[in-house]
């Protein structure tokens, strides 16, 4: 069915351009929204000075970051130091390309798909890109030639590698039920049967917790740990290089929310409203939950983080995958 689509390359190019810019623009205004929501949860107003309701705040922040001096430590490893934030930003934006946000539309002779690319191994590609993103964090901290950055990047690396295992295992159940690694196929399978959040509730919970740790969000934001450690791998970064790291982390959160919607909540499917609207509504709900969690839960200790990751999350995710496999085989 996918092969029969008549979609010339320029439609894909336009879609890729639009999606990449939508993700970046969405990121900018999500920072505003997050600060607003966190503010209201703290009985504050949040940003309200730049423009009406502080709506120009992301633009002001961007201009500030661009105009700031990009400090370059004398001992830093030249190429890697500059390249690390670029890689982080690129992988974060690229990972979003495999997430479907709508069905196929037919416009005259052309078919416009609601996804940028439909890779048969979309899920693997997404995890691979996020793993390359981990390299950026590690290399960025190492190439700064600062012991604090190095320790910070070690901390980040250990956390992300530990939780990546649980993250990948927790979606195994979904893959087994959908018989496919393509995210489009997974959504279509859910339309045909049932949203996977019902049979895969354990998978959803483990995926969500591992995802929070993977995107370095509170209560697992130890790589940054603003209040007690100030910063981690990006200690020596400033200006837009620092901004790119933050952008990458934030877009990773959007991508992960999109992935959760796609894998467990039927992606773009929903009654009455068009697909992209449903996708955005579900995505927004997830992102709100991320912000809500940041306002509520205190940060874990590092040993708690490691113990939870290896002794609780990983066994649960493994057992969930095994049980799902047995049931799928037994049912047929």
């Amino acid at each position: 069915m996918i092969l029969a689509l008549h979609q010339p390359w320029w439609i894909s190019a336009i879609k890729a351009f639009v999606v990449a810019n939508l993700v970046l623009g969405g990121f900018a205004y999500l920072t505003w929204l997050e600060r607003k929501i966190l503010g209201r949860m703290h009985l504050r107003y949040g940003p309200n000075r730049a423009g009406p309701f502080g709506l120009l705040q992301p633009i002001a922040d961007l201009v500030k970051l661009l105009r700031k001096a990009s400090f370059f430590p004398a001992a830093a490893v030249d190429v890697l130091y500059v390249l690390a934030p670029v890689v982080a930003g690129f992988t974060a934006i690229a990972a979003f390309s495999v997430i479907p946000f709508g069905p196929v539309w037919h416009w005259g002779d052309y078919d416009v798909t609601g996804w940028v690319v439909n890779v048969p191994i979309g899920l693997v590609l997404l995890f691979a890109l996020s793993s390359v993103g981990v390299y950026a964090f590690v290399v960025g901290g190492w190439s700064s030639e600062s012991k604090y950055s190095l320790l910070g990047s070690m901390r980040t690396c250990a956390q992300m590698v530990s939780y990546e295992v649980s993250l990948a295992l927790s979606v195994l159940g979904v893959v087994l039920m959908a018989h496919s690694l393509s995210l489009v196929d997974i959504v279509e399978r859910q339309q045909a049967t049932i949203w996977f959040c019902v049979p895969q509730i354990v998978g959803l919970i483990t995926f969500f917790i591992a995802g929070i740790a993977e995107t370095n969000r509170a209560p697992f934001d130890l790589p940054e740990a603003e209040q007690e450690l100030v910063a981690g791998y990006h200690t020596e970064y400033s200006g837009m290089r620092f901004g790119l790291f933050q952008t990458a982390e934030y877009i990773n959160m959007i991508t992960l929310s999109g992935l959760a919607v796609t894998l467990f909540f039927g992606g773009w499917s929903g009654p009455v409203l068009p697909g992209p609207i449903w996708f955005l509504v579900k995505l927004g709900t997830f992102i709100f939950f991320f912000m809500w969690m940041r306002a509520t839960l205190p940060r874990l200790r590092y040993d708690q983080l490691m113990r939870f990751g290896w002794k609780v999350l990983l066994p649960v995710a493994t057992i969930n995958a095994l049980v799902t496999a047995v049931v799928v085989v037994a049912v047929g």
Partner: protein, 165 residues
């Protein structure tokens, strides 16, 4: 680490509830919270009712200043040029506001109550040179004023060491 799911859920409810309440932030430049009457802000130099300056240029304030931010250069009063009632007056009286720590020791040290600390706290400048307040500036009433709470309600009575002298 004992998991406490009920407690965590309660916490989520608490944070969600706050969204619907009115923020308690006081919007500063629009609303200025009144300071207490004895709040120590920008300095003032005072004159007697007949227009003579109270300051006699004794430099006790400069001696008392822990931040060493006061500079006093005295000069002799003459019958033609009488500035203060005493023998001498302060020809130059400067306070470097970027160093001042607003401790009020100058006020305590002054034998003639010539210098007091007012309530004004909006003292930012774009230039460090502008932070040096000259005698003319200190003698004139402050350009920016801030609201002050009712003195009768908050202020303590005149201290004994001032009234019994």
């Amino acid at each position: 680490m004992s998991p406490q799911p009920i407690g965590s859920l309660k916490g989520f409810a608490v944070t969600l509830r706050q969204i619907f309440r009115k923020p308690i932030t006081q919007q500063y430049p629009e609303y200025k919270r009144p300071v207490y009457p004895r709040f120590r802000g920008r300095h003032r130099l005072h004159r007697y009712d007949n227009g003579l300056e109270k300051c006699v240029g004794c430099s006790l304030c400069a001696a008392a200043c822990p931040a060493d931010c006061i500079r006093v250069v005295p000069a002799e009063n003459t019958p033609e040029n009488r500035v203060s009632p005493g023998e001498r007056y302060a020809r130059i009286y400067e306070i470097n506001m970027s160093r001042c720590i607003f401790c009020g020791y100058c006020e305590l040290a002054c034998p003639f109550d010539a210098i007091t600390l007012g309530n004004e706290y909006e003292l930012s400048e774009y230039n460090r040179d502008d932070q040096i307040y000259t005698k003319d500036m200190l003698l004139a009433p402050p350009v920016k004023t801030v609201p002050s709470a009712d003195a009768a309600r908050y202020d303590t009575p005149e201290p004994v060491w001032k009234t019994s002298a």
